[in-house]
Structure formats: structure tokens, C-alpha cells
């Protein structure tokens, strides 16, 4: 790995990409062997891993647009990380295709007999949702989501890189203009995508806050990811004077804030259902609490909220970079646990169930994600070198 600090470019991107790619391919092949052993478990594990890595990409898209919309200066040096994370959308589109082959294993509503009045498997409750929950519309929606995400991330990265070749302040305004409607589209697509791909795993259940819950997790994921990418480079003496402790401090503050926001969403969802205590809603929590899933639920309450809350409370915690990196890694593990807790109990309602595929698919998809991310990240300057706000960003301080 060689870095030219005058042009902010990697002249030689190192072995990371190759290691990630080979790990990803090996683990995906191993996971595919699991498909022949237990195809339902394979798809459950696969969609968990897919959603985990996709949430980093979507968080990256959100953070990029937020940066443009607010005209933030501090985050300019971090923008290429979030742009490159969002740039993995084409890869995620390809990785989405296997899910289409697992619709019957994953989604009860995808079986035609559920909607057939003549069939003994007719489900009256699902019948009411037939207009939305059917395979053709599901595929159309997925195409729309990916089209929106791809067009937004492609345009923003393309414009941002175009700015590198010369001082053109107009491009900053253009990116901002695209980000405004982009933000609205993002809110709609991530909400409905989380309804489609996670909530409809148990199609009887519904929660209007579910999309915001997934969004809060996606934001945490990209924050942790950016901290880890920054730290990875710092350990190799790359960008040490550019991404300074002040930037980590701000990333830490946002992570801390969104830990609370995530807990707020999680509790809001739980609270209303607990209070009303209506069987059509509360069963979703019951099968996550009245059996061995309870321990996973407790791990998430403490691991995803209490530990990061206390662990990131102080100023020193946010400014001690190696410590912050450990917390970021921990939060990413908890992000995976949270998605695991959303997906797995829907098909293992009797109690906790763990399979080796849950881990291999995560490493497999993750390997490809890291490889693609690193390939994009090292293909241009790793900070927007001609951005009008770059100087202010490098010399930014918190006091």
C-alpha cells in the first residue's frame, strides 16, 4: 500500500482488496454448500448479511446527501468514504438477485395458494394485503429502490470526482440541488425497502415506525464504518493530518446521538405495542421474549444501547481514536445482531437457533463489499481535493 500525500491518491492500493475478494468468494462458496443442506436457513442468513452490508451503503448515501444539504464543512475530508460506500450499490444490486430465488423460502406471502380462496392454505389477513404483497410488484419495487439509490449515488460521486479536476464551485450547488429531492426519495425508498425485505418476513405484523428504525441503524452503520476506515488508514500513516482527532470527535458525537435515536425508535415501536397489548401486534414481540430469543433481545438492549451509551458518553472516549475504533467495531457487531434478531425469529419462533451459515454469508457478502468499496475508494483522490470547503475541513476544531 503506497499513498501519495500531495495528490491524496493511493499509488498502490495494497492487498486489502485481494484479501477481501478472496475471503468473500471462498465464504460465499462455502455458504452455497449450506444451501444444499438447508435452503431456508441459507436464505435467512443471506438476507441478514445482505441487509447488514446494504445498510452501510445506504447510510453512506444518506451521509453524502446530508453533507451537501447542510453545507457542512467538517465532513468534507470524510466525504469520499461515504461516497464510496454508497458506490457499492451496483454490487448490492447483483447480490440482491439470489434473494429473488429464495422468495418462497423467505416470504410466506409469496406462495400463490395463500391468496387462493379455494385453497385450504388461504390466509384471510394476507388476502387483504395482496395488492401490495405480490411477487411482480415486489420485484418492481426492488427495481425502483435500486434505480433511485444507483442514480443518486452515481450522480453525486461523478459530480464530486469531476470537481477534483478544477475549481468549479457550481458543482457544489448542483450536488446540493440533487440532494434535496434525493433526501425525500431516500426516505421513501429505505422505508418501503425495509417493509418489503424485513418486515414482510412476518407479513401479518406491521409497524409504521419500522423504516425509521432501520434508517437509524443504517446511519449508525456508516458512522462506525467511517471511523474504522479512518482508523485503518491512520494505522498506516495515511491522512493522519487530514482526518484529525477533531473529525473523530464529531463522528463519535453523531454515533452517540444516533445510539440514543436508535433506542428511541426501538422503544417507541415496542412501547405502543406493549401498551395496547393487541394480539395481532404483540405476538411479534412475544416470540422474541417468551423463549430463548429473550437472551438475544437482552444482548441487544444492553449491547446496542447501554454499553455504547455509557462507553461514548465522555469527551475523552470520543477523542481517543483506538478506543473509538473498538466501539465502532462493537456497534457494527450489534448492528448485525439487531438485524439477526429481526430476521431469524420469524422462521424459528420456538427459540434461538444458530447456524454456521449465519456467519459465513456475512463474511462472504462483506468480503465482496469491502473489495468493491476499496476498489472505488482508491480509484480517485481519497479527499475531494478541489472542494471549496476542504481547507476549512482539514483545520476544523471543536472548540
Amino acid at each position: 500500500m503506497k499513498f501519495d500525500s500531495s495528490t491524496y491518491r493511493f499509488t498502490e492500493p495494497g492487498k486489502l482488496g485481494k484479501i477481501a475478494l478472496s475471503a468473500g468468494l471462498v465464504f460465499l462458496v462455502i455458504s452455497v454448500l449450506g444451501y444444499f443442506q438447508d435452503s431456508a436457513q441459507f436464505f435467512l442468513a443471506y438476507i441478514t448479511s445482505f441487509m447488514f452490508w446494504l445498510s452501510i451503503a445506504l447510510g453512506g448515501l444518506f451521509f453524502t446527501m446530508l453533507h451537501h444539504l447542510t453545507g457542512a464543512k467538517w465532513s468534507t475530508v470524510l466525504r469520499r468514504v461515504s461516497e464510496s460506500a454508497a458506490g457499492t450499490i451496483p454490487l448490492m444490486l447483483i447480490l440482491f438477485i439470489p434473494i429473488l430465488f429464495g422468495l418462497h423460502e423467505l416470504f410466506h406471502w409469496s406462495h400463490p395458494e395463500v391468496y387462493d380462496p379455494a385453497s385450504p392454505s388461504l390466509d384471510e389477513l394476507l388476502k387483504k394485503k395482496e395488492a401490495y404483497l405480490n411477487v411482480p410488484f415486489f420485484v418492481i419495487r426492488a427495481v425502483i429502490y435500486f434505480a433511485v439509490w444507483f442514480l443518486l449515488s452515481h450522480y453525486l460521486t461523478k459530480t464530486s470526482v469531476a470537481q477534483d479536476s478544477g475549481h468549479d464551485d457550481k458543482l457544489t450547488g448542483q450536488m446540493r440541488r440533487v440532494s434535496a429531492p434525493g433526501m425525500v426519495l431516500f426516505a421513501l425508498t429505505i422505508t418501503f425497502a425495509s417493509f418489503d425485505w424485513l418486515m414482510s418476513l412476518d407479513a401479518h405484523w406491521f409497524s409504521t415506525i419500522f423504516g425509521v428504525y432501520i434508517f437509524s441503524g443504517a446511519f449508525l452503520a456508516i458512522m462506525s464504518f467511517m471511523i474504522l476506515v479512518g482508523y485503518f488508514q491512520r494505522r498506516r500513516d495515511v491522512l493522519t493530518d487530514v482526518i484529525t482527532v477533531e473529525h473523530y470527535h464529531d463522528l463519535g458525537k453523531l454515533t452517540f446521538g444516533f445510539i440514543i435515536f436508535w433506542a428511541y425508535m426501538a422503544f417507541s415501536q415496542y412501547f405502543l405495542i406493549w401498551y395496547a397489548n393487541i394480539p395481532e401486534e404483540n405476538y411479534w414481540y412475544l416470540y422474541r421474549w417468551d423463549n430463548s430469543w429473550k437472551y438475544v433481545s437482552l444482548v441487544i438492549i444492553f449491547g446496542h444501547f447501554v454499553i455504547p451509551f455509557v462507553g461514548l458518553l465522555t469527551r475523552a472516549a470520543k477523542r481517543t481514536i483506538p478506543y473509538l475504533a473498538v466501539m465502532a467495531g462493537w456497534i457494527l457487531v450489534m448492528r448485525w445482531a439487531d438485524l439477526y434478531w429481526l430476521v431469524m425469529p420469524t422462521h424459528h419462533q420456538g427459540g434461538f437457533h444458530f447456524s454456521w451459515m449465519d456467519v459465513t454469508t456475512c463474511v462472504g457478502v462483506g468480503g465482496l463489499f469491502v473489495w468493491f468499496f476499496w476498489k472505488r475508494y482508491t480509484s480517485y483522490a481519497v479527499v475531494p481535493v478541489k472542494d471549496p470547503g476542504l481547507e476549512a475541513s482539514i483545520h476544523f476544531t471543536n472548540t
Partner: protein, 184 residues
């Protein structure tokens, strides 16, 4: 509230050209060993805390203690009212259903934190203070739009009127004047 009527000693006031020269002057005062001086500017000046050698505010600890007190207090209050003093079964749930009380516990935690932040801030800033000797200076009124001032208080251990005046002039201060607390 003793600070409202507290009389500050005599001060020596000097004007500076810009925020930049204000920062460097504040730094030189600190390096010369002065401790009881203050800088006045129309807007918060970047780097002034470092220049004056101000420590980080202890306000965060006040907020933390207050918030924690509010949280514990509200847990105790909800427990006592619903599970001890007036036990009442609501929708078949246990007497102490903590879930129902999370919003109010959260709200009181925030309220106590906010009160701690507000009154703690006033206390650490020695506010409210209705009078300050610098108000006796005609020129000082410019501090709200374009003036940058430094005032050195008479209770500074190094205070020596002649020396302070010449020192302030040597570091770029203009219109140096001695302002007494009871001039008017």
C-alpha cells in the same frame, strides 16, 4: 445571588484592532502571569479559550449529576405511587410496569439536566451581574458591534497600575484607561 451586588474592583481597559490581535494579546497577558483579566468581543472568538488558558468547563459534571438525580428520583416516584402508595391494576399489567414510566423518567432526566445546565452556567459565569466597572467607559459601548477589549482587574496579584498600562500598550493596546467602579 451575591454576585448581583458584588462590587468588582477597578479595571484597566485597553482596546485592540481585531479579533486576531485580541487573541495574541490575551495570550501575552497569560504568559506574563496575569490571572484576573477578561476579554470582550462582539462575537465568540475562535481560539480564545486556549489563548486565555481557560480550562474545560465543569458544567458537564453538574448536568450529569442532575440528570442522574432526576432519573433515580423519577424511578422512585413512579414506583412509590403505582406499586406502594396507591396500587391499582391498569389493563391487567403489573403494578410497577416500568415500560409505562420510561417516557416520564426520560422527560424528568432531561428536565433536571436542562435546569442543571442553565443554573450551572449562570453560577460558573457569576451571573446575573447587574454592574461591571467597564460600563463606566464611554468607549466600551462599541464592544457590541466593532470593539475588542481586554480588562485587567485590580485584584490581580500582579496588579500595578503603571506597569499594567505600559504592558497593555506594549502589546498593542490603544486608548488604555483606568476605569473605577464608582465613577458615576
Amino acid at each position: 445571588m451575591k454576585s448581583i451586588f458584588q462590587t468588582l474592583p477597578q479595571v484597566i481597559l485597553a482596546e485592540f484592532d481585531s479579533a486576531h490581535s485580541l487573541v495574541s494579546a490575551a495570550k501575552k497577558l497569560r504568559e506574563a502571569g496575569y490571572t484576573k483579566y477578561d476579554s470582550h468581543s462582539p462575537f465568540p472568538v475562535h481560539g480564545m479559550d486556549d489563548a486565555m488558558g481557560l480550562k474545560r468547563s465543569p458544567l458537564g459534571y453538574v448536568v450529569g449529576v442532575m440528570g442522574f438525580t432526576g432519573m433515580i428520583g423519577m424511578i422512585a416516584l413512579t414506583y412509590w405511587t403505582s406499586a406502594v402508595d396507591y396500587r391499582f391494576v391498569i389493563s391487567g399489567k403489573p403494578y410497577f410496569s416500568w415500560q409505562a414510566f420510561v417516557p416520564v423518567i426520560f422527560a424528568i432526566t432531561v428536565l433536571f439536566s436542562a435546569l442543571g445546565a442553565f443554573f450551572g452556567m449562570l453560577a460558573f459565569n457569576q451571573l446575573p451581574r447587574l454592574f461591571h466597572p467597564v460600563f463606566n467607559s464611554e468607549k466600551f459601548s462599541r464592544v457590541t458591534d466593532g470593539g475588542f477589549f481586554i480588562s485587567v482587574q485590580a485584584d490581580d496579584p500582579l496588579y500595578d497600575r503603571g506597569k499594567v498600562i505600559s504592558f497593555l500598550e506594549s502589546i498593542g493596546g490603544r486608548n488604555v484607561e483606568v476605569v473605577d467602579a464608582d465613577e458615576k
